[in-house]
Symmetry: C2
């Protein structure tokens, strides 16, 4: 790579960063793609790893492998500690990366809204380690009860009734029915609680689909409790406050946090205005004010279009990544960047086996057809042919046999930091 080429630094190899780099495959640029993990993660299927249906490698592709044939990109495993937009440099743990164009696509993380002490007892679901952690806790809870002979039903609490919360709760409800081979306890008697402070589940969906999702959850045996605000979480309980201000304590073997996200701390390093969730307010062309060569995309970007915010979903990040790549190509060819336009392809929330709700271009449907649409779309977007094939076989097998083969409890030593 020549140093006289236009240098593009991309921070983050999620859906946004990955698509920006792919979109520059044939551009005369020198790209450096930096991520603190060595793999791109297909986050929409992370709950399947957490519930033992898929293996980590099924939904993760090593970034270096994804770009092994794209010659204008250098992949670096590094953690960004500082960004200086005026000096046009990004600093990692030991290196500094100069740029002509910067794309920040660092995504979002769990938001405990100031209660970070809840994180160890109520893990969220953003990284592979989160998923294998929750998977281990879930199966260990049954093993512990079987060993001690405590036959009182286990309670699993999912906080947050957005799409992720529904997936986790719905899949857990299915799992407890497929847990066979216990002689003392009855896993099927377990309670799955889905709690949200809002009055409705799936706040961003139309009322009729919310109703359908609620019915499907009920059918699966998930107890939905809306209007309940979580005020405390311990290793064995969740304390909630109802709308009348009454508090109560729920015994909980495991609590999963799906209640909110906040932007990566990298957003604050740019010096631009951020919203309450820490997302960077971007211009219509996805640059930050005063810095036409600094782009922020994906879950880290805050942008309104036609009066409503562009949602923090994978399709938006993909579109933004592609848009920025196009803008850079246009500028290199002497043109000027265009405004980003989010094309809403619809929304899909899955609840379990044959259970889902879909709202695609105004067409609303639910149940098996929605679930099938969800399945096909997700397999289609999985990175890597082999992953797609293996996941399809695994799912077909799980669907027919109600088997979940990746029910592993792996006790890890703490991993030494690699960078």
């Amino acid at each position: 790579m020549q140093s006289d080429l236009h240098r593009v630094v991309v921070v983050g190899a999620g859906f946004g960063g990955l698509n920006a780099v792919k979109g520059l495959a044939r551009a005369p640029v020198d790209i450096t793609l930096i991520d603190r993990e060595n793999h791109h993660l297909f986050q929409p299927l992370l709950y399947q790893v957490a519930t033992g249906g898929l293996s980590p490698a099924d939904i993760a592709s090593p970034i270096r492998h994804v770009f092994r044939d794209q010659k204008n990109v250098r992949v670096v495993l590094d953690e960004i500690v500082a960004i200086d937009v005026d000096a046009a440099t990004v600093s990692g743990t030991t290196n500094s990366y100069g740029f002509d164009t910067l794309i920040v696509a660092a995504g979002a993380t769990h938001n405990y809204f100031g209660n970070e002490q809840w994180e160890p007892v109520a893990p969220g679901l953003k990284k592979l380690a989160d998923a294998t952690d929750i998977r281990g806790r879930f199966f260990a809870a049954f093993e512990e009860a079987e060993r001690t002979g405590d036959t009182s039903p286990l309670t699993f609490v999912v906080v947050g009734a957005g799409p992720t919360g529904l997936e986790v709760a719905g899949t857990m409800a299915e799992m407890v029915h497929s847990e066979k081979g216990f002689t003392t306890i009855d896993p099927a008697a377990s309670r799955i609680l889905l709690i949200d402070a809002a009055p409705h589940i799936l706040g961003s969906y139309p009322p009729d689909l919310r109703k359908k999702a609620q019915d499907q959850l009920k059918h699966l045996g998930v107890e939905v409790r809306t209007g309940l605000k979580v005020v405390d979480i311990t290793a064995t309980s969740v304390s909630v406050e109802d709308e009348q201000g009454h508090t109560s304590e729920i015994d909980a073997s495991i609590t999963v946090w799906a209640a909110g996200v906040k932007a990566s701390r990298l957003g604050a390093m740019l010096g631009a205005e951020v919203d309450r969730a820490g997302r960077v307010l971007v211009e219509p062309d996805l640059t930050i004010p005063g810095h036409p060569h600094v782009y922020v995309i994906g879950d880290l970007a805050s942008l309104e279009q036609r009066g409503s915010p562009v949602p923090g979903v994978a399709p938006a990040a993909i579109q933004m990544g592609k848009h920025v790549a196009r803008s850079i190509r246009l500028q290199l060819a002497g043109g000027s960047p265009r405004k980003f336009r989010y094309a809403d392809k619809g929304s899909l929330a899955t609840i379990g086996r044959s259970a889902a709700v879909a709202n695609i271009r105004g067409l609303r449907f639910s149940g098996f057809p929605a679930w099938l649409a969800w399945l096909l779309i997700h397999i289609y977007f999985l990175v890597g042919f082999q992953n797609r094939l293996l996941v399809m076989i695994q799912w077909a097998f799980n669907y027919i046999t109600r088997n979940r083969s990746a029910r592993l409890i792996i006790r890890h030593r703490p991993t030494p930091p690699t960078t």
Copy 2:
């Protein structure tokens, strides 16, 4: 389960324990199978997980799932802390298990021969967590070199030139050639060293197969160094002493320990005589002296037959498990137990893609036929139909594309103990 049934307690769900329990499927007994992990592990393929070729779930089956249809067994996830053969009880962390017959099949672990301080810097390969740990170190070493721009070739050291050492070294040598997408370093220039204190590799194999294995290792680019005793290991080096007493230090990015095993500490709890490796000296019927209802099988048992020790390999453990089940069934029917006879089905050591040596019933062969035999036998013995199918697809894919899809570095938080 009735408490008036003959109570069989089995400790350990490796090849020995698993086959003992299966062999008692139709016997009028009340079995308790105790293991500290929730999964049976197909250890012969653990090196494939360590080198990114297979996922943990491909080679591990949840024990409870294996026995979901066998009604006379209760599976318990527990760690044994004491055994009282006179009182006929086994103690776990909180429970105590009474038995009429006890089968101890707790296996073996790494033997650092008094240098336990080497374990964190030179992990062995016995558990899933070991394999994902080594996998992470391996891929992180390349990432670190690429990030810092240090282009000096990496050195990977494997200590111990038995079958496991050969598999790890051979597979690593292949992997460094399939690592694509680096722009600064050249993974293919990496050195793989296989070190052993003995004068030969594969000490238990006939000389002509040793020679063939040595040739195949050389062809793969593995440097074999025999007659070198390891005297110290740090995070970045291995110090060795040659037969003339000269010491030297080898730079090592990663060191993998495959130099020896010692029996589980449970062997010492039985009060019977143990050998130097901590294995329990058993009677010809696999019981311990003076306790005709206490069996020790698998890698934990020490037994000589026709002048040579029964080897610590999977087929021996499987045969012992089946034998003990048969003895118990015989005794329940009023008969008396028989002597165990080890049927040596031969030995197979794999080195890499199309590279292996085999010695099956006197028939010695090497190269592709030996590798194919190894592959088919290992797939055949994988527990669970789905695992077999997925592993076969994965291998076919890897073989054609030289791809290793499970190249993941997952940084785990320390896992809280589950028992």
